[in-house]
Subunit: 307 residues, 2 copies
Amino acid sequence: MTLVAVDWGTSSLRGALLDDAGRVVEERAAPRGILTVAAGGFPALFDELFGDWMRAAPGTRALISGMAGSRQGWIEAPYCPCPAGLADVAAHVVAVEPGRIAMVPGLSAENDGVPDVMRGEEVQLFGAMALTGRRDGVFVLPGTHNKWVRVAAGRIAGFRTFMTGEFYALLATHSILARTIDADAPLDEAAFRQGVACAGHGHGLLHHAFGARTLSLFGRMDAASLASYLSGLLIGEELRTQTWDADDGEVVLIGSPPLTRRYALALDARGIASRALGAEATWAGLRALHELHRADPSAASGPSGRA
Amino acid sequence: MTLVAVDWGTSSLRGALLDDAGRVVEERAAPRGILTVAAGGFPALFDELFGDWMRAAPGTRALISGMAGSRQGWIEAPYCPCPAGLADVAAHVVAVEPGRIAMVPGLSAENDGVPDVMRGEEVQLFGAMALTGRRDGVFVLPGTHNKWVRVAAGRIAGFRTFMTGEFYALLATHSILARTIDADAPLDEAAFRQGVACAGHGHGLLHHAFGARTLSLFGRMDAASLASYLSGLLIGEELRTQTWDADDGEVVLIGSPPLTRRYALALDARGIASRALGAEATWAGLRALHELHRADPSAASGPSGRA
């Protein structure tokens, strides 16, 4: 049975056709995130994008993760609370078209009395566990809203979101720093490491960010290097707040190569080893959920099938 | 001899006419910050705004502080390095029109190899010292770019800038939080204190800011309270990074009442007493510099009078 695996995000989506052995036959991407879809437009758009894959073999199923399962998406798949293993998430999968299309729920966590959420990353985490065999440790998913995740005994024990990607865009585009930063410059590793080291002084982002202004004002750093310095300040600030266990082993990074590379550099500066995975984690995660779901289809529920 | 005291900032300016005893005779404000003044337009604008005060009594002098002394201002008054006392700053005053109009320099500091700067706040600090008699302790000047200042033996020993006001505006206007925050809502003290307390958990602004999103997502806080919560998170994050000496005494806050009130609340939540001063600190500081300068006019230098 083939699987149409879809990661449907806010601004874009990616899909893969997986054969019965879980191999990627074909991949597609489109700038059709949920914000671009009018109310009621999801079925037609899905058919336009993936209808040929769905009809190519009898019994083909689709499993969708990401913001398409949010209140503003195709169908709401309520958050599954942490700690959560693969079976817990599979039990919260919501049928979109029973026996044909299903939606993966996001995860919620509670930190110091404040809720936290993810949608889509849970699938990447289970995929990364499957691909690496790691069942414990720290997994990091860089992006607009980064997730730092603690995995224990193969389950997602808890996580925290960091608005690092969004803060970088805000500062580089709308703040006083925008005047003197070339946000599109390629990575300057030395300036990036300098930013990571500066964040380690611990006076907080509100203070250290102003240094990107004054270094420019005093002619000590050019516009291209300042972008990397600011990126290092932000990622270094994330690292500053993490706690590590002696037996955590290497950090597993999941994301696009340009981003995971920055996290690998920042972790290395703190003496922490890491390895990186990309889109393959998404497909492996959707495949693992699909397999579990196929083994026990009664676990899936309709939109109103759960309390 | 009367003094025309002017605090000329980036977006606006304020002026006061002080009599020979230093009493405020009249105050003026105008939305004519340096960004609104075309190159070469400063002398005419100054005359338009303050010419009547300058001509009312023979020998009237003007002393200007703030961004008008920056490279983009009327005349550049190079930064005076910290530690700096009133006499050091007076010695760096630059003549705009010799014997008539003079410009106060800003201050620079060096923190962990990164420069920091202020322009205008140094005058408020000397004014606050004169008004309170305090010669040691922590002085805080809230604003777009807040200054936390260490004063020792009547001199400005060092300081750090925090982009707290600008971060609040960025997050409330341009971030994902903007959708669910009523940035103009009046202060909700309970929500503000909750934000201050949350920042104290120490996971950093990049993480805690996301809580303003999820608290809304889960219906746990309304748009008006979220604005105060975010403000508390930001000011609480500033406080988290400060160090205090046992004998620091109460913190001196200098700024507008709505802002200093928030800092007083946040400090109180940490058990730290404070007192607040407003615009009177600016006039007292310019007056003190003027008196010192008048006592030793040779200390003032022309635009090219210094190495």
